[in-house]
């Protein structure tokens, strides 16, 4: 059975018909072709499918697509305006090698966005807790933590690398 869904994703309005069994992650990936949202478990444990729904991060594998009707979503594709203009968090991940295979990365970056919104100056411990819902099997998290520390500095410095005030 199909049902109509209207959503705003990365500030753009979409109108689609989806299978009632479809999860939000699949709708983003297959209907809207925003494949930056990844699926690593489908059970809410890995965080690869993290997106921002009405201003809060959620695991999009645990939400039925139809329930997103009328909501506002930001995915990893909504973070940077172009290939040359990455979001400061993304730029920090690049420069600190905060990824290897990159599969967990979109979720990790969006969890960082939320973390730094809630706590612009986190300690290492707070960072580790902030991303504890996102599994990474490649990096051992060390360069991710460094990336987030760097991202925090960049955000408090108008997006530029440098010391926080």
């Amino acid at each position: 059975m199909k049902t109509p869904v209207e959503v705003t994703v990365n500030k753009k309005k979409y109108k689609v018909e989806v299978d009632t069994r479809m999860i939000l992650a699949d709708m983003l990936r297959e209907e809207l072709r925003l494949t930056g949202t990844h699926i690593g478990c489908g059970t809410g444990n890995c965080g690869a499918c993290t997106v921002v729904l009405n201003g809060e991060t959620v695991k999009s594998c645990c939400i039925i697509a139809a329930d997103a009707n009328g909501q506002e979503i930001t995915t990893i594709e909504g973070l940077s305006s172009s290939a040359t203009e990455l979001h400061p968090i993304q730029q920090a991940f690049v420069e600190n090698q905060g990824l290897q295979c990159g599969y967990c990365t979109p979720g990790m970056v969006l969890s960082t966005l939320q973390l730094l919104k809630d706590n612009p100056n986190p300690t290492e411990d707070e960072i580790r807790h902030g991303i504890s819902g996102n599994l990474c099997r490649c990096t051992g998290y060390q360069f991710i933590v460094q990336s987030i520390q760097d991202a925090a500095k960049r955000l408090s410095n108008g997006g530029q690398p440098g010391a926080s005030q």
Partner: protein, 792 residues
């Protein structure tokens, strides 16, 4: 500008961080169908009948296939690790199991439907009638006479044995000051990359061309396996490896789903997709590591080990076409790792059981060998009262003794184990630790320090093997405008070898690394190569790139020499300029030389070189021996990186919870091409090792059901479980590799096992704990503590 040794961020990083990577699940084709697998719910059963009608009746279902059609139309899956070459028993495994399932999850039927929900739903409606058969789960039980046979055609459940002996064991044990024995059980666990496996296959009947996008580590070998299994030409198959979301060995072919989806795409002539669910990944995506290691040690009072017997009993699960069982061989091959033990015997029994087959997993058996030796060295320290570090230093192969041949014939290339150990002890503050420990104890805290040693041979090169034969190829093409295309036979599942290879080519040609584009993972464009396994991509692929680059460099020097009116031997290149040695202001631009070769091949500078600037070269490693009749030995690993870790833990004796406070490591893989990416690999390896030491466990119940088939039950480390790692590198060149480098990809994963066990025992030294069962979950630690307290 030199790039080798420079920290350069991985080339695909920007694309991936933007969410613009392309993984196999991102391949979405018009008219694409979806496959779902029907799997055995039993650990051992005969298939009496299969009724596909209820599934076929579901609207949207396109096709249902069972093992009957598979055996009529396909060959058994070609083995990834040739059993005959290793004197091991073999089985015929098919893309779908035709008559007898041997572990829970083995594929028996598949449904293809218009969408994945329908495919899954219909797969659940396929009715399979089974007759249950007796099962065997424990390797040593399986070895007993009269045990149920996993393969009724075999005379026992032992798949392969080895027996390596050196010296006089009886004499050593008779002359020893003391002896002790023990048994270690390591648990079953796996790599669990965050991206599960997946394949998309499509077929063009007009070109007779099957295209397969695969989350794999080995596109070319996969093409061979598919061709052999399907009975079609290799040239009618193209395997494309898109971005891979982590491999760790588990994405090495030959899984059932690979030939299955390829066959169905050809038959239905429509694109088909299959993406593994996490539950399937943990159930059938390849397991590893379950070993029982019996040992006897003969030592002298001063801590030197003079005799050692090890019996490795590996529970490799059901036999399959996968290469995982070979890990057991490597465990036996590596013992006694970095130690010089004059009298040594290592026996291997590779045993099949009714569990998921092993596939390769980072460490590939080396971890078990190193872990065993750590337990042995700690045991000798306890028995003699000699310090743990001292015992290791006393027994190490010394730096001047390389190349050193171990009891198995393994030829260890180089190393400086004492230097690395001394350095890590310094980093962790070994000397002052007893005081720290005593102070903590006064505050009621139990902290302990542990040492873990690792030796991880890389670049596996086996005889008569499609996948593992140990060479690789590379094409270097300088384009007319001076930019460089590099096509490799090795691939990267996220580990960054493409970046290292670009650095090697940049240095070889003397150009900016930004001018280099590396292309990997496409059987139609890349030179034939074996892909990614055994941390080989730089040692084999990087060396091949250097050889190919050197060919081009020499050719361009010849032309440049004419342009500069000097001899080729008198010129060099750097920063895009080819210049006269000693007179750098006399130069021609690299791109002008390229242009001359392409645009003026009859002119006065380039007429005596062949047109074009492209070379494909292959590299084979000098430190491999496959002809015992010629060189007196068999040695399949050319490169021997090593490392040592020291960690500090805090144990809560009330709960058994172990907290890792510090983790220091010194790692030696010879010359590092890109220290940043080597460091990144180390971090990942160490944390996977930590997961294996402390949480990860694939647990079966008595019926052979996997109880840990989700990330809820199979817990891998989160950021909170990990300390900030302190890692240093030491450089002992490999004398056999032209770049001086060794493999890095599996470094770090081994030492945590020994180090953490040792540290927990040290933290509770008064209880005289001895961990011989992994992992050290709070539950196990708590029980050991209770047990020791009751004994006291």
């Amino acid at each position: 500008m030199k790039y080798i040794g420079k920290e350069i961020v991985g080339l695909p990083t920007r694309q991936l961080v933007a969410g613009k990577g392309q993984y196999v699940s991102d391949v979405i084709l018009d008219g694409m169908l979806h496959m779902a697998i029907v799997r055995s719910p039993y650990a051992h059963a005969r298939i009496k009948s299969i009724d596909t009608k209820p599934a076929e009746a579901v609207p949207g279902v396109v096709y249902v296939i069972t093992g009957k059609e598979v055996i009529e139309n396909m060959r058994p899956i070609m083995e990834a690790y040739d059993t005959a070459a290793m004197d091991a028993k073999s089985v015929k495994c098919y893309a779908l199991c035709p008559e007898r399932v041997r572990y829970v999850g083995e594929a028996v039927a598949a449904v293809v439907a218009e969408d994945k929900y329908t495919a899954r739903l219909a797969a659940d409606l396929v009715e399979v009638d089974y007759e249950e058969l007796p099962v065997v789960f424990d390797a040593e039980e399986a070895m007993k006479p009269g045990a149920p046979l996993v393969e009724p055609d075999w005379d026992s459940n032992v798949m392969v044995t080895r027996d390596f002996i050196r010296g006089d064991l009886d004499k050593a044990f008779a002359e020893a000051d003391g002896t002790f024995s023990g048994t270690i059980n390591t648990q079953r666990y796996t790599g669990a990359a965050i991206e599960p496996r997946g394949y998309v296959a499509t077929y063009d009947p007009y070109q007779d061309m099957l295209t397969m996008w695969a989350s794999t580590q080995n596109p070319h070998p996969m093409r061979v396996f598919l061709a052999e299994t399907l009975g079609i030409p290799e040239t009618s198959i193209r395997v494309i490896q898109p971005h891979v979301g982590g491999g760790f060995g588990l994405k090495i072919p030959t899984f059932q789903e690979e030939p299955l989806i390829a066959y169905l795409a050809r038959k239905l002539a429509r694109p088909i997709k299959w993406i593994e669910e996490r539950q399937e990944n943990l159930l059938v995506g390849g397991h590893a590591r379950q070993n029982r290691l019996h040992y006897d040690v003969a030592y002298k009072k001063d801590g030197s080990v003079i005799g050692f017997r090890a019996k490795v009993i590996a529970d490799v699960g059901a036999p399959a076409a996968l290469c995982g069982w070979g890990q057991s061989f490597v465990t036996s091959y590596c013992i006694p790792t970095c130690y010089k033990i004059p009298n040594c015997r290592v026996q291997l029994f590779t045993v099949v059981t009714n569990k998921c087959p092993w596939n390769a997993y980072r460490g590939y058996g080396k971890e078990a060998a190193s872990f065993l030796m750590d337990r042995v060295m700690d045991g000798v320290a306890k028995a003699t009262g000699v310090d743990r570090a001292e015992v290791r230093l006393k027994n190490f192969i010394q730096p001047e003794e390389f190349p050193y041949s171990q009891v198995s014939g393994a030829m260890i290339d180089s190393g400086n184990y004492p230097k690395a150990l001394n350095r890590v002890l310094e980093m962790v503050g070994y000397k002052d630790f007893p005081k720290l420990q005593a102070d903590a104890r006064k505050q009621g805290r139990c902290i302990g320090l542990g040492i873990g040693q690792e030796l991880t041979p890389e670049g596996c090169s086996m005889p008569k093997s499609t996948l593992l034969s140990g060479y690789d190829g590379c094409t270097v093409r300088v384009n007319p405008s001076g930019q460089v295309t590099v096509l490799t036979g090795v691939t990267s599942p996220g580990s960054g070898n493409e970046t290292g290879i670009a650095q090697i080519v940049a240095d070889t040609l003397g150009v900016d690394v930004k001018l280099i584009r590396v292309i990997q993972g496409d059987t139609d464009t890349c030179p034939y190569g074996l892909g990614n396994y055994s941390s080989r991509s730089i040692i084999m692929g990087g060396a091949a790139a250097q050889v190919a680059g050197t060919d081009i460099r020499e050719k361009m020097f010849k032309v440049a020499a004419k342009m500069l009116e000097v001899a080729p031997a008198d010129i060099d290149s750097e920063d895009g300029k080819i210049y006269v040695k000693g007179a750098p202001s006399r130069y021609v631009l690299f791109k002008d030389v390229a242009s001359t070769v392409y645009r003026d091949c009859y002119g006065k500078f380039a007429s005596d070189v062949e047109p074009g600037l492209e070379a494909t070269r292959y590299f084979r490693h000098p430190n491999v021996y496959h002809q015992p009749e010629v060189d007196g030995r068999f040695s399949s690993y050319p490169s021997w990186p090593n490392g040592v870790s020291a960690c500090v833990v805090e144990v809560d004796p009330e709960t058994g919870i172990v907290k890792l406070l510090r983790y220091c490591a010194v790692h030696d893989a010879g010359v590092l091409i890109n220290p940043l990416l080597a460091q990144a690999n180390l971090h990942g390896g160490i944390i996977q090792g930590l997961g294996g030491a402390m949480f990860e466990n694939l647990v079966y119940d008595e019926a052979g059901q996997l109880k840990t088939a989700s990330f809820l039950d199979y817990t891998i480390p989160t950021a909170v479980d990990c300390p900030s790692l302190e890692v240093e590198h030491q450089e002992t060149r490999s004398p056999f590799n032209p770049l001086g480098c060794k493999g890095v990809g599996e470094s770090g994963v081994t030492a945590p096992l020994g180090a953490i066990c040792s540290a927990v025992e040290n933290a509770l030294g008064h209880l005289k704990l001895n961990f011989d069962e992994m992992p050290l979950t709070p539950d196990r630690v708590w029980q050991e503590i209770r047990h020791a307290q009751q004994q006291a």
